[in-house]
């Protein structure tokens, strides 16, 4: 089983990298982009067979180390 953890700065926390990408898109002529957020994706290959267990464990990982919940939100997807 794989767990895909997506980590983004929280809404309301300014994302300088997203902003730079937004500027670049504007500069080369792409219109209609209202906002850009840049995050990171961490893909974990797990030995667990139970989805429920895996989710619990990955949530713990996200809270403890993968994300800094002072400034970041995360989502977990199991595939």
């Amino acid at each position: 089983m794989k767990a895909i953890v997506n980590i983004f700065l929280k809404e309301g926390v300014l994302d300088p990298q997203g902003k730079a990408i937004h500027h670049a898109l504007d500069a080369i002529g792409f219109e209609g982009v209202e906002d850009v957020r840049m995050g990171k994706q961490i893909v974990l290959k797990l030995s667990a067979t139970s989805k429920e267990e895996a989710l619990k464990e990955v949530e713990k990982m996200a809270e403890e180390i993968l994300a800094n919940t002072v400034i970041e939100d995360y989502t977990i997807e199991l595939v």
Binding site: V13, P16, I65, V70
Partner: protein, 224 residues
């Protein structure tokens, strides 16, 4: 003679500058490798030196907080011991939860390395006791992730408790935006005023041949 424990992680690169600075102030310095599980006996001050612990992978300071020595540092701080985190050390202290807030990528996305003037916001603490309030200090900065973030409630608490130590300013002492930090904060302490963190490098400003010796009066406060 004061005993200073200076932490060394893989990727720390300001440890020897920090040793030099505290030796110069007449202290006994001890480099402590991150795999140690306890601090040397009779430690008077722990300094988490700057650098790129674990290559700053994941986030600055995120992996270092799980090093064996950090458990000892947290216990030391919680029992009232003095801890100073410089640059990457500041990032580690926020990651481990000894200081509030977090440090994000600089607003202009650049690694900023230059001399920077700082205003002393509060000197009612051991670290800045030798500085005057509103004094302007000239101290080098060198970081990519120095953009200090804290939410509004958190900021009000810092202000109320006198936890804001230094703020980026121009040479006239007027607040300046350098890296996007909330209210240009360059350094803070905890509520109990025994844990200090700042992005600028006082250990690089110890004598005029280096461009400034304003770092002396900062570090002297901690060993007074």
């Amino acid at each position: 003679m004061k005993n200073i424990a200076i932490l060394q992680f893989p990727g720390t690169n300001c440890d020897l500058d920090t040793v030099y600075a505290f030796d110069k102030l007449g202290c006994k310095t001890h480099i402590v490798w991150h795999k140690e599980t306890s601090l040397p006996k009779d430690t008077d001050l722990v300094v988490i030196a700057g650098g790129f612990s674990y290559g700053d992978y994941l986030r600055s300071g995120a992996i270092a907080k799980f090093s064996p020595i950090m458990k000892g540092v947290v216990e030391y701080a919680n029992s009232g011991g003095k801890v100073l985190g410089i640059c990457n050390g500041f990032q580690i202290l926020t990651e481990v939860g000894l200081l509030e807030g977090a440090l994000k990528r600089n607003i202009n996305l650049h690694f900023i390395s230059k001399f920077q003037t700082l205003k002393v916001v509060n000197n009612r603490n051991e670290f800045l006791q030798k500085c005057e309030k509103d004094e302007v200090l000239n101290i080098p900065i060198a970081h990519a992730d120095g953009n200090y973030y804290i939410d509004e409630d958190g900021y009000r608490e810092l202000e109320k408790n006198g936890q804001i130590l230094v703020q980026y300013c121009n040479p006239r002492g007027e607040r300046e935006v350098v890296n996007g930090s909330v209210n240009s904060i360059a350094g803070i302490c905890n509520k109990e005023k025994n844990v200090f963190g700042l992005m600028p490098h006082p250990e690089r400003a110890m004598e005029m041949v280096l461009g400034s010796k304003d770092g002396v009066k900062m570090l002297e406060g901690l060993i007074a």
